[in-house]
């Protein structure tokens, strides 16, 4: 693999799961994992992780902050199956059972630079009202068999989900040799901050919103 003719390109991801906005729940923690195609392989870094439990602060009654770092490098030969990060949030319910509070996934940004992503979270719904009640009672909410399900489209038509809240992630993306292999992902403006239109970020200026 000489420098002139690379056979793989690298995608380095630094970032963090900054926090979440779950209006109804408290004491949540999250797990993350990556879903990627056949042509991808992590070369270094952690592929999955589980965060600390965080509670809502007194001054920020709607914000859960994890600031959980992500650091991973992928190598790949093919942009097909671009990595996605799957985040699932868990927390105790009223009876103290650990239940899932949300699943969400997003593609790793493809352009180098800093990015912020806010991903909406959802959980599968019970099939019937009775089941909803019993699952609430027993603390066994319906869960996806595999959190990675949310990163794929196949078979989702059989599920019903309800929205829960938002998780905000920030990424710093570095790529190597993408252009050499013929993939030009750099946009005209290299630094591009993306915020999900629905959710509010956690910038200092947003406090006025609480009025």
């Amino acid at each position: 693999m000489t420098a002139n003719s690379p056979s793989v390109f690298l995608l380095m991801i630094n970032g963090q799961i900054e926090g979440a906005n779950f209006p109804e729940y408290d004491d949540l923690y999250c797990k993350y994992c990556f879903v990627y195609g056949h042509d991808w392989a992590p070369t270094s870094g952690l592929e999955e992780g589980i965060s600390q439990i965080t509670s809502k602060g007194r001054d920020s009654p709607h914000r859960l902050v994890w600031n959980f770092p992500l650091e991973i490098t992928f190598k790949s030969t093919n942009p097909l199956g671009w990595p996605q990060i799957v985040v699932s949030v868990y927390g105790p319910d009223t009876f103290g059972n650990d239940v899932v509070r949300g699943y969400g996934a997003t593609h790793i940004p493809i352009t180098p630079g800093q990015h912020t992503r806010t991903i909406p979270m959802f959980v599968p719904e019970s099939t019937s009202r009775l089941q909803k009640f019993t699952s609430w009672l027993l603390g066994r909410r319906p869960e996806f068999t595999d959190p990675k399900v949310v990163a794929q489209g196949e078979g989702r038509e059989v599920t019903r989900v309800s929205s829960q809240g938002f998780v905000t992630l920030s990424f710093n993306i570095v790529t190597k040799d993408m252009k050499r292999l013929g993939y030009d992902t750099t946009a005209t403006e290299t630094t591009h901050t993306h915020t999900h239109p629905v959710a509010a970020g956690f910038g200092p200026g947003n406090q006025t919103l609480s009025m």
Binding site: S7, T134, F144, T145, T208
Partner: protein, 1473 residues
């Protein structure tokens, strides 16, 4: 806002005062107040604009010092200075608004108190919300708002001034129907538009412009029905079973899907003769009269004259209007063009009208003339034959107006003609002038030329100078012809025209004032009775009465039915009124009706009438009755009054004016497609086999079968279709296409017209790209590439080798086989596998809820109760129960996570070493028969017992387990009944690292459990202290367990029979001496060694659930339902008993299980082998069946299903699993007259399997079809553990007894308490036919030489053994080999039983010097690989001694139908000296 307000009142005191904001004394109050006001305004504006300021804006607002404008700055400075003075003033006169004042007061207070300048506090204003009274608001709103009135707007205000509304429709332009809209809304809208003064929204007619109503009257889409809605019962769908079509392609059901349920209704209502040989002269005239009258009626009905006249008038009016409208103005060329077109039209119409009028007139005249003739004839012959009577009704007209109309018409025509002539004349004149001009020019040229010529000529002869130019001209004209001199056109003859017109009018039109004559024909006149007629006429009438008519209906030239005979009446009309329903299967090609006349016994064919095959849209009930004309040229003559046919006759007395008439008539009938019960037309689809493609456009106008585009085009231009009418859109489109040169409209529809634009690379390049191919293969989940990682980024890095794997797979299979037939079979099997796998892959992508979401089941009462019960359980019970381990879904596993756990507990009856004594043992050379087998053990024990006491040499067995080429072994134990009780852990890795269920299921790996004897030899220990020992291991037997079995059953626990070779050189069967009671006695019933094992996988894997796909079936719906209910009941009540009623055949269709059983003849050769001993024959057949190689379905059809092939398929494929073996064995047994059943049950190690049960000699025998072994019902070592159900050829019984073990149940299926039958009295067997062929096709002769196969196997094995011993030389003892080779056929003959002793003796005598250890292996033959594997697993090649020699012999025995049994004799020899 509340928050902000609160914070205002608690200003932070610790903030340092900002110098900039300090109040500066000397600033004027007024200015400061304006400044403040401005700020306030700004704040207000900001607030009102966006609700709330953003953080940034707020910050800017507070920190920004407003200095960009210098004026502002100075003013500010002033303001600051003047401020303190103004404060009091402000307080006093501070405006009228109290609130503001108060606010400002506060501000000042804070300012003074805290010395803080303007903060947010300064700019807030608190005041009440403003209130405006209702009336006031209404008033103000009235100024702003506009309420459109709903009164109709006068048309005048909608069109531009000084314009009249113009109605396009009246001008003959197409105006579509407007969509319906309520008048009120329309008025409101119009008023609103008027208010906005956007008059352009109104059309010329003063109405709002609107597109035509886009809604079609009939829906183009089939109506959708919802299940929850109540369906009209007529629309209810009825399930009909799909039937296999028996018809070939020439039949209507081309696809084989819709069976021809088509019906043609042929309605033969009757026929009328327009001429018949038996017509009298009067009849001839009568029929002629009738014809004319019919013509008259039909003309009157169509009333073309009237129609054309009105059209003519309309056209004339239009022209008049146009001329009038544009009266004085010059006509635009377009208008002129139009007018001339109209004129042309007028001319044509007039001509047509004249023609029609003339016809009317002649017709009327003709009718009257014929009627006169009839009357004359009746008078002449003095009798009446026909009942016709003609009345002429007069309709008087008003003479004056009639004359006026007449004159006006003539005048109009004359005017027009004159106009035309004038126009014509003018045109001619202009033409003439033009020509004359041309001629003059030409002439001038000529002159000039001539002059030149003359000059030259004059030099020659001056005298002739004065000659006439004319002459010159003439000669020149002759020489080079120029345009002829035009003649001036003639003046039109104006007077003649009027004359002509009035002449014509008098010819073709009714004279003015003449009454209108309306003829009326009735058939009510009296006919002279027979008696009063002359003899000739009488004879004719007699003749008529004798005759009768019937009609044959021929469909595709085959007679399908005929009408009744109907006698001919005097009026020669025959009424049938019969409808024939033809149920048709073939395509209708022709429908023919034959008219026959019967006279006495003879019938004559009068005529053939061909009826066109109706369109599929013509249905009974709506089909019109057609009148088809027929005629025949048969010559018939009579000697009576009748005129005959093809015979000249005359009405005149003198015989002049002769006529010849042929038999002819009209047949009225209708052919149409029938309508089924539920209003479904029973017509075949329109696609006709002759390839007549109907274009949509033509069909849409109802003129089907029109194929001539040109004619169509002509017709379209002639008929002047309105191109704007959407009804004509189709045909206009068609014409456009036709005129553009393409005769056929494209009959395809392109969805992605622009696809080509976006193809960035051509199709071929894409095909050639290896990388793309790789990606595509992976995406298609082709087995080799399903988990292919890292497709290279560059095309050049993809090597062709990658694809070789795939192509290899297809080739290798055939290469690996030694015989062609098996290669073919393998190929076929591969194909089936492929297709099944594909189906499975598709099915795998259908998810259900439980695949994606884990959800707790709603607890039932039972589960709740059980949970409550559990609470009361002791925490640490004295007798703990085995808990189920947690199951692991296989998807998140990787290599090394899974282990295979084996617990080898103990073994029984391991063969013991035979002391190498030279004296021949007293062997029991009893050839045991079928029954003796059971008692044979004892005799042997007696003889061996004494040996054991004397010789301490025993056996030191250990177990070696190999799986996926990793080998582990236990410690060595002592004695023939060793106890190891050892745990072995074997690593497990899935192929390709793919731990998906599908992949694990398809693993073909097997676990080999081999028992070896560890032999210690002392080497050279004769003289020194050093004693060298060498360890050798001798193979004693093995157990093979496929991985799939463990995977599916999650654990295997039990005692297995060790597969020991029939002969073990150097070993003998040792019986445990200590016969401890009954247990041993029972066990000794069977011979062979046994091993107790426990195998499981850690962690436990969830076996993939077999997909319960609903397979299509040809069984009846009721049967399928019943079987489903039966199986479900069984699963509910006896969950551990396998129950099978329907199975899936090799085509993937569900078949009822009993169809597989049917007596089938075993190969005669096997029956003949033991003609006297049926037991032996039975044994041999079981062996024969077991020799067919076994191939588990679960391996080949991973997780899909269990496929059952029929016996002939099984014998052709020569591969199948237990079911196929069992079915074949059972069928053979049935044909041998045994009572045989299939047992559906579970066994170890196979898991769910199928065995065969037979009843003979008052006991039940259980046969293992894949090994050929049989067990008594009470045999403890019978591998069958559970009996689920029994299957015979006509019923299925479910085991409903308390126990499932064959030891504890009764096999008497007649006991209803013990066995629940599937077919009972309530649901009897519908007589299911068998799917098996009656006779099996048996190939007696081998398609290849047996010897060559033997040699090849031997060669391969020898090479392999040498290959396995890379470090040591491998010597072959040829002498021993040849000896062994002689033993093998004997072994085959005795089927491996009991030749050991002779054998050994023989060998020992021959090879006394050698220590031999060896054994024969016996295998069914499918391919070489299993043989090689088996040889490898024995480990014979591992003997490391330097002086070792080997012997290997192979024998292949062929059974009928290409079933082969392979014997491999392996031995290692070590020289003793």
């Amino acid at each position: 806002c509340l928050l902000l307000a609160l914070s205002l009142w608690s200003p932070p005191s610790d903030l340092p005062p900002r110098p900039q904001a300090k109040p500066v004394p000397g600033s004027s109050h007024s200015e400061s107040s304006t400044m403040r006001q401005r700020m306030k305004d700004k704040l207000k504006a900001a607030r009102s604009e966006m609700g709330l300021p953003t953080a940034e804006e707020a910050y800017n607002f507070f920190t920004f010092d407003f200095d960009p404008e210098p004026d502002e700055e100075t003013r500010k400075g002033q303001k600051r200075r003047t401020r303190p003075e103004g404060e009091n003033e402000e307080g006093e006169d501070g405006g009228d608004d109290d609130e503001e004042k108060e606010e400002e007061d506060k501000e000042e207070v804070t300012e003074e108190l805290f010395l803080i300048d303007q903060s947010a506090d300064d700019f807030l204003v608190f005041k009440r919300a403003e209130y405006m009274g209702y009336q006031r608001r209404l008033q103000s709103e009235n100024e702003l708002l506009f309420t459109p009135s709903f009164l109709t707007v006068p048309a005048s205000s909608k069109v531009p001034e000084n314009m009249k509304p113009r109605y396009l429709e009246e001008e003959g332009l197409y105006v579509g129907e407007r969509p319906p809209m309520s008048l009120t809304n329309q008025n409101i809208l119009e008023n609103r538009i008027l208010k906005q003064e956007q008059v352009r929204w109104f059309g010329d007619d003063g109405r709002i412009m609107a597109l035509p109503d886009p809604i079609k009257e009939s829906s183009t889409r089939p109506p959708l029905f919802h299940i929850e809605d109540d369906l009209d019962p007529a629309l209810q769908t009825v399930y009909r079973k799909a039937l296999v079509s028996k018809h070939a392609s020439q039949y209507i059901s081309v696809g084989g899907e819709t069976n021809g349920d088509y019906q043609l209704d042929v309605d033969v209502s009757g026929l009328i003769f327009s001429h018949h040989p038996l017509f009298s002269q009067e009849h001839v005239l009568g029929s002629r009269l009738v014809q004319l009258y019919d013509q008259h009626l039909s003309r009157q009905h169509r009333n073309l004259t009237e129609h054309l006249t009105t059209k003519l008038n309309g056209l004339r009016n239009t022209i008049g209007n146009m001329l009038e409208v544009h009266g004085g103005q010059r006509l635009t060329p377009v208008m002129q063009q139009r007018i001339s077109e109209y004129k042309q039209e007028v001319r044509n119409t007039r001509r047509l009208r004249d023609l029609e009028q003339e016809k009317d007139r002649t017709l009327l005249k003709g009718i009257v003339k014929i009627w006169k003739e009839i009357k004359a004839l009746r008078d002449f012959q003095r009798f009446t034959n026909t009942p016709y009577k003609l009345y002429l009704r007069r309709e008087e007209v008003e003479r004056a107006s009639d004359v006026r109309e007449y004159e006006a018409e003539i005048q109009a025509e004359v005017d027009e003609l004159l106009d035309e002539m004038e126009e014509d004349y003018q045109r001619k004149v202009t033409e003439y002038r033009r020509q004359q001009e041309e001629w003059k020019v030409w002439r001038r040229k000529q002159r000039a030329k001539n002059k030149k010529k003359k000059k030259t000529q004059s030099q020659l002869d001056d005298n002739e100078d004065d000659e006439d130019n004319d002459d010159d001209d003439r000669t020149d004209g002759e020489a080079e012809p120029g345009p002829p001199k035009p003649k001036p056109p003639e003046e039109p003859d104006m007077e003649g025209v009027e004359k002509q017109v009035s002449e014509k009018a008098s010819r073709i039109r009714r004279k003015p004032g003449e009454p209108i004559l309306v003829p009326e024909l009735t058939a009510s006149g009296p006919i002279t009775p027979n008696e009063q007629c002359p003899r000739g006429e009488f004879a004719r009438r007699e003749d008529v009465a004798k005759r009768s008519i019937f009609i044959k209906v021929l469909y595709n030239d085959k007679e399908v039915s005929r009408t009744d005979n109907r006698s001919l009446n005097s009026d020669f009309r025959v009424h049938f009124g019969q409808i024939f329903n033809l149920k048709i299967v073939n395509w209708p090609e022709s429908i023919k009706l034959q008219v026959f006349e019967v006279l006495g016994l003879s019938t004559t064919l009068l005529a053939d009438v061909f009826v066109p095959v109706p369109e599929s849209s013509i249905l009974t009930g709506s089909a019109p009755s057609e009148e088809l004309v027929f005629s025949s040229n048969l010559r018939v003559m009579f000697d009576h009054e009748a005129v005959g046919s093809d015979v000249p006759f005359s009405f005149e007395v003198d015989g002049s004016n002769r006529q010849t008439l042929l038999t002819s008539g009209k047949l009225s009938c209708s052919v149409s497609w029938a309508v089924g019960e539920d209003d479904v037309p029973l017509a075949p689809p329109t696609t006709q086999p002759n390839g007549l493609k109907q274009l949509d456009a033509i069909a849409s106008i109802g003129a089907s079968g029109l194929n001539d585009m040109k004619k169509l085009g002509e017709w379209a231009t002639e008929s002047r279709l309105d191109p704007n009418d959407p009804n004509n859109a189709d045909i206009m489109q068609l014409l456009k296409v036709a005129s553009s040169g393409e005769v056929t409209a494209p009959d395809y529809f392109r969805l992605e017209q622009l696809q080509e634009e976006f193809n960035f690379v051509s199709e071929e390049d894409l095909e050639q790209s290896r990388r793309f191919r790789l990606l595509r293969l992976r995406n298609q989940e082709v087995a080799e590439f399903r988990n292919y990682k890292f497709v290279p980024a560059m095309e050049r890095e993809v090597t062709d080798k990658v694809f070789e794997v795939r192509s290899l797979r297809e080739i290798v299979d055939t290469k690996g086989h030694l015989d062609a037939h098996r290669a073919l079979v393998a190929k076929h099997l591969h194909k089936i596998r492929e297709s099944i796998i594909n189906r499975f892959l598709i099915a795998k992508h259908h998810f259900i809820m439980s695949d994606l979401v884990q959800e707790e089941q709603v607890p039932t009462i039972g589960i709740l109760g059980l949970n409550l019960f559990k609470l009361a359980e002791p925490k640490r019970p004295l007798k703990p129960q085995r808990k189920e381990r947690k199951k692991v879904t296989a998807q998140n596993l990787s290599d090394g996570d899974i282990r295979l756990l084996l617990n080898i507990i103990r073994a029984y009856d391991i063969p013991v070493r035979k002391p190498s004594v030279n004296k021949p043992a007293v062997t029991s050379k009893s050839t045991r028969s079928f029954t003796e087998t059971l008692t044979a053990g004892q005799s042997q024990r007696a003889t061996q017992g004494s040996d054991w006491l004397l010789n301490q040499v025993q056996v030191r067995p250990f177990v070696e387990v190999s799986f996926q080429r990793s080998v582990l072994q236990t410690t060595t134990a002592d004695g023939p009944n060793p106890c190891w009780n050892e745990d072995l852990q074997l690593p497990f890795s899935a192929p390709n690292g793919d731990y998906s269920t599908a992949n694990l299921q398809s693993m073909k790996d097997e676990i080999f459990i081999n028992i070896f004897d560890e032999v210690q030899y002392e080497l050279g220990g004769d003289r020194g202290k050093e004693v060298h020992t060498r360890l050798e291991k001798h193979w004693l037997g093995s157990v093979k367990i496929p991985f799939s079995t463990i995977y599916f059953q999650s654990r295997i626990d039990g005692t297995f029979k060790v597969d020991t070779p029939p002969v073990l050189l150097g070993y003998s069967k040792e019986r445990s001496l200590a016969s401890d009671g009954g247990y041993d006695a029972v066990r000794s019933l069977t011979e062979g060694a046994f091993i107790t094992l426990f195998i499981t996988i850690e962690p436990q894997l969830v076996p993939g659930e077999t997909i319960r796909e609903k397979f299509e079936s040809q069984e009846s719906e009721g049967l399928l339902l019943a079987s489903e209910v039966f199986e479900r009941d069984a699963a509910v009540h006896f969950p551990d008993r396998p129950c099978l009623t329907t199975v899936i055949n090799i085509n993937g269709k569900t078949v009822f299980i009993t169809r597989y059983l049917r007596p089938l003849n075993p190969p005669q050769e096997l029956l003949d082998a033991f003609p006297n001993s049926p037991q032996e024959a039975t044994d041999l057949i079981a062996r024969y069946v077991s020799l067919i190689p076994s191939l588990p379905d679960s391996v080949s059809f991973a997780g899909v299903c269990d496929l059952w092939s029929t016996c002939d398929q099984f014998l052709t494929l020569l591969a199948g699993d237990e079911e196929e073996h069992a079915v074949l064995l059972c069928n053979y047994f049935l044909s041998m007259g045994k009572k045989a059943w299939l047992i559906i049950g579970t066994a170890i190690p196979e898991g769910p399997t199928t065995y065969v049960l037979t009843y003979e000699q008052n006991r039940y025998l259980i046969w293992n079809p894949s090994s050929g072994q049989y067990y008594g019902q009470y045999d403890t070592f019978c591998p069958l553990q559970t009996v689920g159900c029994l299957v015979s050829a006509d019923n299925v019984w479910l085991n409903t007894q308390a126990y499932t073990s064959p030891l504890r149940i009764r096999f008497d299926v007649t006991k209803a308490k013990l066995w629940k039958p599937f077919f009972s009295r309530a649901f009897p067997n519908p007589g299911l036919s068998s799917v098996q062929c009656i006779t099996l096709h048996i190939i007696l002769h081998l398609p290849f030489p047996k010897i060559s196969l033997t040699c090849r196997i031997e060669k391969i094995l020898k090479e392999k053994i040498m290959e396995w011993r890379p470090r040591n030389p491998t010597r072959w003892n040829r002498y021993c080999t040849s000896t062994l080779r002689h033993f093998l056929p004997k072994l085959e003959l005795s089927r491996g039983r009991d030749v050991a002793d002779e054998h050994r003796l023989e060998l020992q005598s021959l090879l006394g010097d050698y220590r031999i250890s060896g054994f024969p292996l016996h295998l069914p033959f499918s391919e070489v690989r299993p043989i090689v594997e088996a040889v490898y697993s024995t480990g014979v090649h591992n003997v490391e001694a330097s002086n070792v020699e080997f012997a290997l012999a192979v024998h292949v025995h062929a059974y009928p139908n290409n079933v082969l049994s392979v014997w491999v004799y392996l031995a290692s020899l070590i020289r003793m000296r």
